[in-house]
Symmetry: C3
Subunit: 336 residues, 3 copies
């Protein structure tokens, strides 16, 4: 029984080696895909730019994998073609701006100059109340994405002295600058007024449990300002392609963020849309997915980080939302 | 006359040595009481924890003396048993959190991980509008006190590069986070709305001089969110046990802060309750009491520091109070 | 024809040497005028103080030239004698405070301790709604100017570790502190409420092109809170005395700032008064005028810097203006 003929042995070996090779090919598509860099060295600039851009797309979720980037872009186009276009423009403009201004090519190749521009473009589109295909929006998108490159190199020099990364600070600065410069009633670039998530409802409404649970995967999608279920799951899959451990922490973090939202009785819309979860997801991924030495200590720390991220998100949203609401109410009250 | 018999000499020596010894014993209870650390080395953990906690209590007023800590705790329980309980819980939770997470034991023993947690607990209790003995408040008190430990070690690393101490930044961050996350109308954790001290009165009221003067010792008590005269004087005595020079500067700083409040015509309530004085007291104690080389230059600098502290306090209270009042008014205006 | 007699040669040489010498004397009045320091070494203290003060006045526009300083002071007195007096008091008080507290004499001589005090005084005067010659204003002017000296040396130590200058941070801190401590309805120090430049007009008004163009030179004057055309041109001339390249960049930056204001449809008053331009002017001068190695790269970077300065100015004005307007509206709404 346990003795096989030579032919059988060879056949099983062939099958084993085939499945091993298939697995190897699959594994080549996960992680950092460093081998791809060698293949791309003597390719056309346009192809190289596409790979740099796709790496940039995944830097938003702290990953670095062109295949994940392609999946995320598909998810964005699926959710809204206009948002997909804005994201593509943002990542390309900021990567090109870094190439033109002669930034370190190693940084450009790893997508470090793309993700801030992409986030700025996506959020400008998401906040704009002028509707889709409002082409004038491309003007701030171009300027904002290019500005991120300068802010990134400036902040890197400063924060590098503390061994801290510049991360998404350039995006934060640029988008807050844009939102403060314009207003909900702006003649050229109107945007939706921010609502403090802690504002009380006129009538206390019952929470729908299924909607709250649906908000957990949506929280992963909201990292890219995407609020549809299918694309959010595709983005989650893209995280899993880079690192399954990170995908687990993304869902866990989003659940923790939703729990934090529940504990403070935020508005139901905030829970249903996944906006309560996305900061928790990012916090949990950063701590639990990037250290990689998976220990229970790291795991617990990742959960604590998700809670803290979620509470800070609610606090800042309340503060900025209050100021924003007042600004929005100002012009209406002037005619009186 | 000037020649004494041997017996008289011995008696006078014995009296002198007795009063010297009594003074020595008294002096042992002042200052840092480092000798106590040796006695505590091989005691029960619970006793050690109590000493660490009491040292932590006095770190709020920049002192380090278990006896002062005990006096302050008595003052807090005297003023309000619920506030006393909250303070005790806060200092114990954050000290224990530091022990469990394995922080530097020398820092823990000097009470450096207790005072932020205590301030967070006391201020959560003071801002809460849910009344005393609202046991749910212990949930944020536990979480907030533990968070302070992590923020303290994180900020110490960062600020240590500039030779700056983390001081009460962890408390500031945590309490502002808590206040921004909740609101005056929050269903679980309502808090009193902050009033800008510079807001005009509907009817200009006359100041009562005696009440203003009464606000000066109250300013020392307000460091621990305590607004009663007796306990405030006891806290002042506790400062005096550690260092009489510091107690003098505390009263001086509170008086300077009240003067600063008068110069800007803040609300009478702010003056009467001692809220105008407590930041001046802290600023004056830090500069005048900690340098210890008492010179007129230091003294003048301490007064300048008290004025600056008091004005910055009024400025920030005005700004945050304005935002807070608007946030509080929001839900009321929505039904219209 | 080309052969001249000896007499003619000598006459032409004499004329050439006269015009060269006149030019040399003129050139001595431009730039840093370092030769003046040697002449002033053994003069009376009052004369030295005047030179230090005049250098301090020009530090506001990043220059360092006593003659420019004198021209700017003349412009300020021309525009408003009260503002001129406040500026003079501010620069003298803070320079004297630095002398008395024993700051580095090289820094004092170069006017580094004068410009923050001057800006504080000018802006306190400009924001005050108590009218000219309200002598009580001298009290905060004295205190604020002296505070700048301490903040400057404190911030220099901190920012020096990053090779960053303290620049006008002390002025920013002091004036925001003053404005937050007082309010538009303050009984002692009332000030004009800040209006967010992005607030919508009740009726959309047509822009008057000539007024907008007039706002460009006014933007240079607004650096010193001066809103009249003649004095603004004199201030521009004072910049030109120090460095003509800087004057060109000042006008260019002000134009860029006005363009940025137009692109975001700010209030017409903001464009007409030059308030949209002054931050752009400062940003453009700092980058384009201080590097001195005039290249197209520097020039383009100066324009980018002007745009960024102008947008940040609009963003911050919108945010602070919103908070301020609400604070102003508070007492009015209380009697209801």
């Amino acid at each position: 029984m346990w003795m096989e003929t030579k032919a059988e042995q060879q056949a099983s070996r062939r099958r084993a080696s085939f499945s091993r090779r298939a697995l190897n090919y699959l594994l080549l598509c996960t992680g950092d895909m460093e081998h791809l860099d060698k293949c791309m060295e003597d390719q056309l600039f346009v192809l190289q730019l596409i790979v740099w851009g796709l790496r940039g797309v995944t830097r938003v979720i702290l990953a670095n994998n062109p295949l994940s980037g392609a999946l995320i872009l598909v998810a964005l186009y699926w959710s809204s073609p206009w948002q997909g276009l804005l994201g593509t423009v943002g990542v390309l403009v900021s990567t090109l701006a870094a190439v033109i201004t002669g930034h370190d090519s190693a940084e450009v190749e790893q997508g470090l100059h793309g993700f801030n521009g992409m986030l700025v473009s996506l959020l400008m589109g998401a906040f704009s109340s002028a509707g889709d295909w409002y082409w004038w929006l491309l003007l701030p998108v171009f300027l904002g994405s290019a500005t991120c490159v300068f802010l990134f190199s400036g902040l890197s020099t400063l924060l590098g002295r503390f061994d801290l990364p510049a991360a998404v600070f350039p995006f934060n600065i640029t988008i807050i600058l844009f939102l403060l410069c314009t207003s909900p009633n702006h003649p050229y670039f109107p945007h939706h007024p921010a609502t403090p998530p802690g504002a009380l409802q006129p009538n206390s409404t019952e929470l729908i449990a299924l909607q709250v649970i649906r908000g957990i995967p949506l929280g992963v999608g909201q990292i890219f300002a995407c609020g549809a279920l299918g694309p959010s799951l595709l983005i989650l899959a893209a995280v899993g392609v880079y690192s399954p451990l990170m995908a687990v922490h993304a869902v866990l973090g989003s659940a923790v963020g939703t729990l934090a939202g529940l504990s403070l009785a935020v508005q139901p819309n905030s829970l249903y849309s996944g906006l309560s979860g996305f900061n928790g997801a990012l916090g949990c991924m950063a701590v639990g997915g990037l250290f990689f030495t998976f220990s229970w200590r790291t795991h617990l720390f990742a959960i604590a980080s998700a809670f803290l991220s979620a509470y800070i998100d609610i606090a800042l949203s309340n503060m900025l939302g209050t100021v924003s609401q007042h600004a929005a109410g100002q012009p209406l009250s002037q005619p009186h």
